[in-house]
Symmetry: C2
Amino acid sequence: MSEKKNILIAQSGGPSAAINASVAGAVTRAMASDQVDRVFGAVHGMEGFLHRQIIDIGDQIRSQDDIEQLIHTPAQALGSSRYKLPKGQEGDAVFARILSILKEYNIGYFFFNGGNDSMDTVSRLAAYLYARNEDVMAVGIPKTIDNDLMDTDHTPGFGSAARYIAMSISELYMDTIVYDKPNVVIAEIMGRNAGWLTAASVLARRAGVTAPHLIYLPEKVFDPDAFIARVKDLVENGSEQQVVVAVSEGIRLADGSYIAESGEATDVFGHVMLGGVARTLESLVKNKLGVKTRAIEFSTLQRAAAHVASQTDLDEAFQCGVRAVEAALHGITDVMIAMHRVSNVPYLVQYDATPLSNVANMERTIPLEWITEDGTDVTPEMVEYLTPLIRGEANVRMVGGLPTYFRFDWTKTIDPLV
Amino acid sequence: MSEKKNILIAQSGGPSAAINASVAGAVTRAMASDQVDRVFGAVHGMEGFLHRQIIDIGDQIRSQDDIEQLIHTPAQALGSSRYKLPKGQEGDAVFARILSILKEYNIGYFFFNGGNDSMDTVSRLAAYLYARNEDVMAVGIPKTIDNDLMDTDHTPGFGSAARYIAMSISELYMDTIVYDKPNVVIAEIMGRNAGWLTAASVLARRAGVTAPHLIYLPEKVFDPDAFIARVKDLVENGSEQQVVVAVSEGIRLADGSYIAESGEATDVFGHVMLGGVARTLESLVKNKLGVKTRAIEFSTLQRAAAHVASQTDLDEAFQCGVRAVEAALHGITDVMIAMHRVSNVPYLVQYDATPLSNVANMERTIPLEWITEDGTDVTPEMVEYLTPLIRGEANVRMVGGLPTYFRFDWTKTIDPLV
């Protein structure tokens, strides 16, 4: 038996347009390594792993073409789950089961590709393995459109969603100004506590596009009266009669209650599930101002729109996968790959590995000094920060006008090796 | 005074991603003609024309680059209106005013770029001018994402919206299948009485994408019980637990009432304004089946998404503009440019001019034989019809990850010439 070990990668949390580029990077780097024997993937994250839903990625990827297609395929090509590791004794039982499966498949390198909650999972697993002196490296690969992970300049997936949002706000603006009539469009954008995605709407503003005219972020208290007064002023005295508002799903009133809170359920992590901010504000504007108003939710399209992925984002997601494998091969565990911005012009990031304890279960929100005093716009610092992240058009291969996707065969699971 | 005349083009109705390609085509052809002196545009359609909001397009377009950008700019670059010509005596007064303005600006060729209602306007104007022996040719240039104009194989704007819809359904599908859980996504698509756009969702189905699983069109009565039964069966017995439903905003119950009818207002043409079909069906599925369900409205993005325009569509829209000018220069009036499909493989259309009386105020809906018996899908004939229309990627010029748009200066109106 050689000393070679197998690697396994799993994906978790919500979809993004760039998450598969990280798998592509990890697989590419792993397949080029002497230390790695086989490259496995768990289907449906930790939940699937616990049920031995393990496939041979190395076997299913047959060409560089497959890698290219995988990079441009939206949402988790390995499936996902929102499974959360239990705490205490119950958790220990799960860890024991994980360890046993890692051994069954001779896995020496474990990669978990996800957001806050996923980083908690991999951190706890890494600690468990390290405490038992098990020779398995566990490394996190960042992914979240929300851009709310600590200790990294930004996160893979964010740039592509940001590009979709800026593009869509531009198009809505062009659509809104054609009639010589007052018109308010309210676009609802994802981001529960962190307004990064909503802030990215500002990139739409450029030659020929004045939208968004107002930007509301969850980091600042939302004042409905001030909102109505601003919309009224813009409709009546603005350079146009049309107003495009970008609003985060997570905006709250002074008493801390969500605008969209109306008996919604909570998700599996106990987060309040939001929705309907734009519709709530639409009613408000219609009632108070009597102006034609349209609520638009970008909904899941903002995280799935791989056809407008940012090439910068895809390149960085790929690199995060590569670096994760390199860290693990160097015997580093309990870390997440992070990006640090060296310069804006020219744009340059450096990659390193940050301890998962710096990341797990924390949220990075927008610094308040990047939001204007009145809470309806962002500052030039924010624009400078965002600008490089949406650059570059992904070179998506189209057939008959539509993109081609790479699909792993999730049913081709493999038996334990030992 | 030479015998040269000026041309004027106006745009009307709802935005589309291809409507400016028709202006680009008309302008390009007109500027190359000996018979044409100046090229004017009316801002905000007939309403703006009546207020002499006339700009010099020929003066504002300064390069081939401007033409290229205009082609890729979404929504009416000249603005739009939903103004409807009054009937009877009041209408005659308006016609007299139109004629007077046409003379003030020495306009010999009048082009109106729009849908059903616009074709009615230009038809009535053409008849008025012809009856008075006025030497002004009035020609319609088709435009509607709804694809519901008579006597043309399809309409400019449709192919681009169809491509957006197929692309988005693909992306929603990929987003929906990542969790190992039942999940229903209901996408609401425009089309009041004609289901062409909703039918176009079928193009998403291809290698790796099984969505849409159900397609509901306004041409068939919608049966909520049968719908729930089909969703239940797909969730429980389908190859996946996830179901993507494409539904037209205009679906109706057996008694003729709209699903979304809940006290909505009517638009200026007396049409019932729809909205909320997907949300209504979302509640239905949640209540009846207790399955996670998400309603998504493509809303105005489906008509404004120029970044995914179909090149076929843009080329055809451009040609319709060119042919409209050629028809008018040949002394043809009271016609709309129409496309006739010569063959599917290779795809070829021919252009001709059809009398506006064949088009105005009529709607072309989907032939019932192109819809499956159970009303949940379309037939291979529909797929064959749709396939060529979304082909070709528009070569949109991106700067910093976002498209550049061409904007006419609407404030630079010109005084009457005589």
